[in-house]
Chain length 237, copies 2
Amino acid sequence: MQKYLTIYHDLVHKIQKKYWQEDELLPSENELTKRYNTSRETVRKALNLLAQDGFIQKIRGKGSVVIKAEKLDFPVSGIRSFKELATSMKLNAETSVEDLSLIDPDSHLQSKLQLSLDDKVWKVSRARKIANEKVILDKDFLSENIVPKLTEAICKDSIYDYLENELGLPISFAHKEIIVEEPTDEDRGLLDFEGFSNIVVIKSVVYLSDATPFQYTESRHRPDKFRFVDFARRMPN
Amino acid sequence: MQKYLTIYHDLVHKIQKKYWQEDELLPSENELTKRYNTSRETVRKALNLLAQDGFIQKIRGKGSVVIKAEKLDFPVSGIRSFKELATSMKLNAETSVEDLSLIDPDSHLQSKLQLSLDDKVWKVSRARKIANEKVILDKDFLSENIVPKLTEAICKDSIYDYLENELGLPISFAHKEIIVEEPTDEDRGLLDFEGFSNIVVIKSVVYLSDATPFQYTESRHRPDKFRFVDFARRMPN
DNA sequence: AAGTGGTCTAGACCACCCG
DNA sequence: GGGTGGTCTAGACCACTTT
């Protein structure tokens, strides 16, 4: 494990354990350099990660302030699996696999996943139940080229876990968009939809570290149950 | 201007001018170090910014690949004013100021903006017209402590521009959330709402670089006209 | 084996904040 | 003036990809 990541994880852990109060200052970079017996640039790398993730705010001339933690947030930025989210948010959640099949992609999928003519894709539909209501419908499409096999057991647990830990795929980045749509008949059939007239859809394409797209996902959320949170930083220009 | 930022801007400019093709490799870090007559760490800082902004994908052992540019992105991450967005997306846009007044904040605002008991806030309501339809309602609340004066002319142009360039405020980061709500009577009155039964609301709190919150905004979008794009990177656990 | 990006070091100077 | 974070340097070793 790299030094700056162990420092990062140690600090995250201490912040979450309220080792420092909110609005309090972290030890200075020079102090941390001594404590972790490393160089200042390495400490800075860890602190910059913390800032990027919204744990601290660095203030020139003063120090690094611990930021008030929000909870029950559904992060927009960052690739996280439903299982990771459910765990970290301590949700009482349950997944049912509604469909698992190997299909011929339509042209939209072919272009999104840069497929050849006779490539096939896995289609997975899963309904997510939170507090005994089905409120999320996840539709995943994965290149058979890259994911040759999928089982219902894997889908019920965590596809991400399987991809990263069993197949060792280097998942790298994702392009996401959020739009609001009219619910389809499928949405109404598979979710507890009550009388809602809109559905919030997060569409994403996930890439490997060599920039190959291998997964297209639509995560369809009942509009009353979610808020999507983002932590944005003013960019240079 | 810092060296790594000038390098960053130069490379962004060259990528946008198609100096390198999509999927092509940038010159190596060592090569760029020579060309810009600097150190490798400085080049790497610029390249990491490019990767963070989705311009390139760095691949160990190979190099930095120029990523296919997506078009018409409405960035979630990054704080941008409507004017910046409208300009960069070349929209035919128009703003009307519906309300501008100095009010006593309710308790919700007091806590969001960390106000004292008799502090006042500016309230600004603006309707955004795109392609001759009023589809966005922006409601801004700004601390009078930090923004002592506001005029209708400023609000019609760009508040951000005024804050950054006239007042010189160091705008630093924002916490945003996206939720779907029922439209209010105000929404129906000020927007061309047709028959829609939901509205997409982006709520954000904007902070100065010393972590003081000074602005609370609700940007209310007609659901059919709304699209949000984000570029996410898999975080180390 | 050579070239690439990833990490780490030790030191330097700067701009900013505060007592 | 002393401490803080921001930038920059020159050099080193490593893991990975390609030839």
